[in-house]
């Protein structure tokens, strides 16, 4: 089985950041895992937009190498606790992100033009 981001992470979690934003973090196991999660060709605003049905221009991604963390924030499609909100704390929204499969390390292009 190919490894998912979740397999390469110590923890993948999601939570509200106030009533109108969801935020999630990938705590990667090591530098190799971080390199996979921080790869902008693999994980970027457009990918998050597709995964969660949110406008790409509102997605914010923070890549924090000192912690081996990639953090992603975007507006909630439904305000917290309103009718049709099915995850009041945004606590289970990390799952589609954790199941993404990065390209194998060998196949990842490190020499792309800057």
């Amino acid at each position: 089985m190919p490894e998912t981001l979740g397999d390469l992470a110590l923890e993948v979690r999601s939570k509200n950041a106030g009533p109108f934003w969801t935020t999630m973090e990938l705590f990667m196991r090591d530098e190799v895992g971080y390199a996979a999660a921080a790869d902008e060709d693999f994980l970027n605003e457009e990918v998050i937009a597709r995964l969660y049905g949110t406008p790409a221009e509102q997605v914010r991604i923070f890549r924090i190498p000192a912690l081996n963390v990639v953090k992603i924030s975007f507006p909630r499609p439904v305000p917290q606790g309103g009718f049709r909100d099915r995850d009041v704390h945004s606590g289970q929204h990390h799952v589609p992100l954790a199941l993404l499969i990065p390209p194998a390390a060998g196949a990842r292009r490190s020499g792309d033009a800057d």
Partner: protein, 458 residues
């Protein structure tokens, strides 16, 4: 001990959440100068603000408060509680103030209490709006006066200034309405002239108690702020703070982990460094606070969006489960027809949410899994302008939820209802509608403080 340092004891992330009593004893032994604890949040949803109802039970709060009040009195240090009663409404402040008064009387403690009220009148805010002093925060747009007027409760989030003013006014116990999580911990060190950068950063790190340690269940933390930075340690000797556990807390429930707005300015931790002092203590330096040219107060408001009734059944039949989305679509279609026929209601007069728990209720169309579930719970949530209508619609749905077959079934199945009656009335449903700030001239302008002076020792 270093006299040019201020030690903040934060026993837990929330008043009423409980903490080991030893966490307080250790904090006092370590020289705590102030006890600070948050009493609320928006995190459990709009009901608690909109209905001005606390999330915690009285007994839980009383247990925590008794320990904290006795500790504050024994050590002669201030106790600060923020966002009283979960939503930080005036009723929430009065609730905590009432419990405090009873404990002080029962324990024979003479402490002066300040209650700071943060609830806002829509009519006053409409004037601010007309004056162009209310601005949206992303992702929101401009505010309508009718939105303000539709709220059952509006609170302003105070910064440290009203709390500091209450302490200067002689309060030994400060019970604040809605306040930023950080202001509760930052007020006392700022009053004692600690530098803004380290103070605000420390306040952010400690706001959830032990969440910044390697064992979030182990109790509280102590932050020591001085002129160059701050040091943080857990109060449980078995727990640790590590550079990673402390730095990672800046990620928690923040949209931006480096910059956070407070009423008076912005915390900026971009240049902060985290260093292990020993195996359980972390030193943080390089935190900054950029004062804002305009002081702003963030508003939170909740209103009643309608009334809800829920019905709930469960399906185990593999044939229906193999066609569950088709079944749910048929339920929605037939229910709409029956409601129009029997209740004379068109679809725009109400709203339905059919949730298939066990299939894709949590993530909906974004769920990555495929294949039929072993069993599925069907939740029907009906939203209408009054309770009787919501319940009538859910009742019309009952025979469908019980017996609806898929299109290709030659018989009527019966699903597994867990309750009788099937319908549960949820009462008024609330929604958050404000994500805006108001410009103010003075940082205490929107807040009102009342003192209950200690009676001289008997």
């Amino acid at each position: 001990m270093n006299d040019n340092a201020i030690r903040i004891l934060v026993p837990a992330g929330m008043l009423g959440g409980g903490f080991p009593p030893e966490t307080i004893e250790r904090g006092l032994v370590r020289g705590a100068d102030v006890i600070a604890i948050d009493g609320g949040s928006t995190d459990s949803g709009p009901f608690y603000l909109g209905a001005a109802t606390p999330k915690t039970t009285r007994a839980q709060v009383e247990w925590d408060l008794r320990i904290l009040l006795k500790a504050a009195a024994d050590a002669r240090i201030p106790l600060i509680v923020g966002s009283c009663g979960t939503g930080g409404t005036d009723a929430g402040v009065d609730w905590i103030a009432g419990i405090t008064e009873e404990i002080l009387a029962a324990e024979g403690l003479a402490l002066t209490v300040a209650a700071i009220y943060s609830e806002q009148k829509a009519s006053a805010l409409v004037e601010h709006l007309a004056a162009g002093a209310i601005h949206p925060l992303p992702p929101h747009g401009d505010l309508e006066a009718t939105t303000l007027e539709s709220c059952t409760r509006i609170v302003g989030m105070m910064g440290h200034e009203p709390i500091e003013a209450a302490l200067r006014g002689g309060a030994q116990v400060v019970l604040a309405g809605r306040a930023t999580d950080t202001a509760v911990a930052a007020a006392y060190p700022l009053m004692r002239d600690m530098p803004a950068g380290p103070t605000w950063h420390a306040a952010k790190i400690v706001e959830c108690g032990g969440q910044c340690t390697t064992d979030p269940r182990a109790g509280g933390v102590l932050a020591t702020i001085d002129s160059d930075g701050f040091t943080i340690e857990p109060l449980d000797p078995a727990a640790s703070c590590t550079p990673a556990s402390v730095a990672a807390h800046m990620l928690y429930e923040t949209a931006d982990p480096f910059r956070m707005r407070e009423p008076a300015g912005t915390i900026d931790v971009t240049g902060a460094t985290y260093r292990a002092v020993d195996e359980r203590t972390v030193r943080v330096e390089g935190s900054a606070f950029d004062p804002a040219p305009q002081h702003t107060i963030k508003l939170e408001g909740a209103r009643i969006s309608g009334y809800e009734t829920m019905s709930f059944t469960a399906i185990r039949d593999p044939h229906i489960l193999a066609n569950i989305e088709e079944w749910a679509a048929l339920l929605r279609q037939v229910l709409g027809e029956w409601v129009t026929r029997t209740l004379y209601l068109e679809p725009d007069a109400y709203a339905l949410d059919i949730r298939l728990y066990g299939h894709n209720a949590v993530l909906g169309e974004h769920d990555p899994a495929t294949g039929p579930a072993r069993e599925v719970a069907v939740m029907l949530l009906v939203h209408a302008s009054d309770q009787a209508t919501a319940t009538a619609i859910a009742t019309v749905a009952n025979p469908l939820m019980l017996h609806l077959p898929t299109a290709d079934m030659a018989y009527l199945p019966s699903t597994a209802f867990p309750f009788s009656p099937a319908e549960t009335e949820r009462g008024p449903a609330y929604e958050f509608v404000l994500n805006h700030v108001v410009d103010v001239e003075g940082p205490t302008d929107l807040f009102r403080t009342e003192y209950r002076k200690a009676v001289a020792d008997a």
